[in-house]
């Protein structure tokens, strides 16, 4: 195969940008030390990792069954389930729902699958406003960029750069560099948008087959806003996110949050099992669950690659990767960067585009050491 030099070019560019390197180093060091502090007890940590790896491996071993059960239980609860083989199909399904409601304004919580779909771009091309509401995603959208990290999308920017961006986009707001002041500006701008949005869209962290429950982990409350206030909620996720039982959720949540940010627990854990029920006074009247394949079934059939589908998107492998920490997320050019992206993206998007990504490794094994679900072992 002819090796393209795009990736090498982007790496060189990132390595020559001292600001990018400083921003990533600072952020990665912080995230690593927070995780270490939170998972310091080795016996406890390894016990939890073994348990979570087993939960995810079990779910993948029974994937077709569990997906059927999930569909059955969601449907019984009043959630409408849609299947998409490709991102084109997925975008079309979202568009049909939006059009069915004659909606023009959609507000989004964080969703890596919607990034995979290129949903914002697609909907905007159809004249539909598609606004990010997670602070990091909002910053990235304002800047016309893509996320550089799956947990902290705007991690490549420092506060001065964010402040500069706000000054450019909102000349009426007094210039400020304090992160909390910037966050409050975003709050004021987006509150009105939550109130007026006709559709809320979110990702899903875990989908529970046993009860037909969609689980979302977040700190800001924008995910809750998107799934509570607009009359219609669309949840988009990959088919691999299903788990068997509700009892699987507490250990997964625990290890996900501690691996990702070192918190004991996220500010919010939002479990959605149905649209607004008879007599309830709020919540969406319609909830849709869109399950995207986009190559996942193929990965699932491959004995060597199936384990990569265990991923719970905590970001720890990125935070600990000596390559990611130096080149940053954008250099990869893929939706998911870092070690897990390097393995999954060539499978999903093809070797022609991402065949080089697996070379972004020093073979140090740091990613395997920290992965909460023990990928690749």
């Amino acid at each position: 195969m002819q090796v393209t030099s795009d990736f090498q070019g982007r790496c060189r560019e990132a390595l020559n940008d001292p600001q990018i390197r400083r921003n990533f180093r600072f952020a990665m060091d912080g995230l690593m030390s927070k995780r270490r502090a939170s998972l310091g007890d080795e016996d406890e940590r390894e016990g939890l990792r073994a348990r979570c790896a087993a939960i995810r491996a079990n779910a993948l071993a029974r994937l077709p069954d569990l997906l059927e059960q999930l569909e059955r239980n969601c449907t019984e609860n009043g959630i409408r389930v849609h299947w998409a083989e490709t991102v084109q199909e997925a975008n079309r399904i979202v568009l049909d729902i939006v059009r069915g409601h004659h909606a023009r304004r959609l507000i989004k919580g964080k969703s890596m699958v919607s990034e995979e779909m290129g949903l914002n771009h697609f909907l905007e091309g159809q004249g539909i406003e598609c606004l990010e509401s997670d602070l990091g995603e909002y910053i990235v959208q304002l800047a016309g960029e893509t996320p550089s990290h799956i947990i902290a999308p705007a991690i490549h920017k420092n506060r001065q750069e964010v402040a500069e961006l706000f000054r450019r986009k909102f000349p009426d707001i007094p210039f400020q560099e304090d992160p909390e002041a910037l966050a409050r500006s975003a709050r004021r701008i987006l509150r009105e948008k939550f109130e007026q949005a006709e559709i809320g869209l979110s990702g899903v962290n875990f989908a529970v087959a046993e009860t037909g429950t969609l689980c979302l982990v977040e700190n800001e409350g924008n995910g809750r806003m998107c799934t509570t206030v607009p009359p219609v909620h669309i949840a988009v996720t990959g088919i691999e996110k299903v788990v068997e039982r509700l009892g699987d959720i507490p250990p997964l949540l625990d290890l996900l949050v501690r691996s990702a940010t070192g918190q004991h627990i996220s500010t919010y854990f939002n479990m959605i099992s149905s649209p607004r029920r008879e007599g309830e006074r709020d919540g969406p009247r319609e909830v849709h669950l869109l399950l995207l394949d986009n190559g996942r079934s193929r990965i699932h059939r491959d004995a060597q690659l199936i384990d990569t589908l265990r991923c719970i998107r905590c970001g720890a492998c990125m935070n600990h990767c000596p390559v990611y920490g130096r080149i940053g997320g954008h250099a990869y050019g893929s939706t998911i960067p870092g070690p897990i992206g390097s393995v999954v993206e060539p499978q999903k998007e093809g070797l022609a585009r991402f065949g080089e990504l697996p070379t972004a490794s020093t073979l140090c094994g740091a990613c395997a050491e920290v992965c909460p679900v023990r990928i690749p072992r």
Partner: protein
């Protein structure tokens, strides 16, 4: 997690709530007129001198969304359980106490009885047999809304409540 916790008693919490509303200079308070907290709140408010205005709505959110977003300064809700090991509250919003009460107003007061404390999330799910029937929305809440999206620096009050105040009844 930066939640405020105030210890009080089952007979005095509503007075404490009023006092906290005053200390924080809150002009109004949203609560469920037909919910479990109403009798105690009404009793205290009716005997108080110029208390914050009580906001009650027995209608769907669609009837008063603009006021909920623009004019509501605080809300108080009951709580289904508390989780000790990670300091989180469990809410199962009800028709009387809808989910937006703990989300949209800038201040959220949560009333938790010490008897409703569990050790862990796993224990609540297991002992209460959640798998036998989930509500439309179940929530764990551990603090005020926050983000570390800018330079990994914690900023509070991004989209959800800027303050979470727990009244722990013992």
């Amino acid at each position: 997690m930066r939640a405020e916790v105030h210890l009080t008693s089952p007979s005095q919490w509503a007075e404490r709530l009023l006092q906290l509303c005053r200390e924080k200079g809150l002009g109004n308070l949203l609560y469920a007129a037909d919910g479990p907290l109403a009798p105690a709140i009404d009793a205290v408010w009716e005997n108080a001198d110029a208390p914050p205005e009580r906001i009650r709505h027995a209608t769907t959110i669609e009837q008063w969304k603009p006021a909920l977003f623009a004019d509501t300064e605080a809300a108080v809700t009951s709580v289904r359980a508390g989780i000790a090991d990670v300091s989180a509250l469990v809410l199962w919003p009800t028709p009387q106490e809808p989910r937006s009460y703990s989300l949209v107003p800038p201040v959220h007061f949560a009333v938790l009885h010490a008897g409703q404390l569990y050790h862990s999330f796993a224990e609540v799910v297991e002992q209460e047999q959640w798998h036998t029937g989930m509500p439309s929305n179940a929530l764990l809440i551990s603090g005020p809304s926050k983000s570390a999206d800018i330079e990994q620096t914690l900023a509070y009050g991004v989209h959800g409540p800027m303050q979470l105040i727990v009244l722990l009844l013992i």
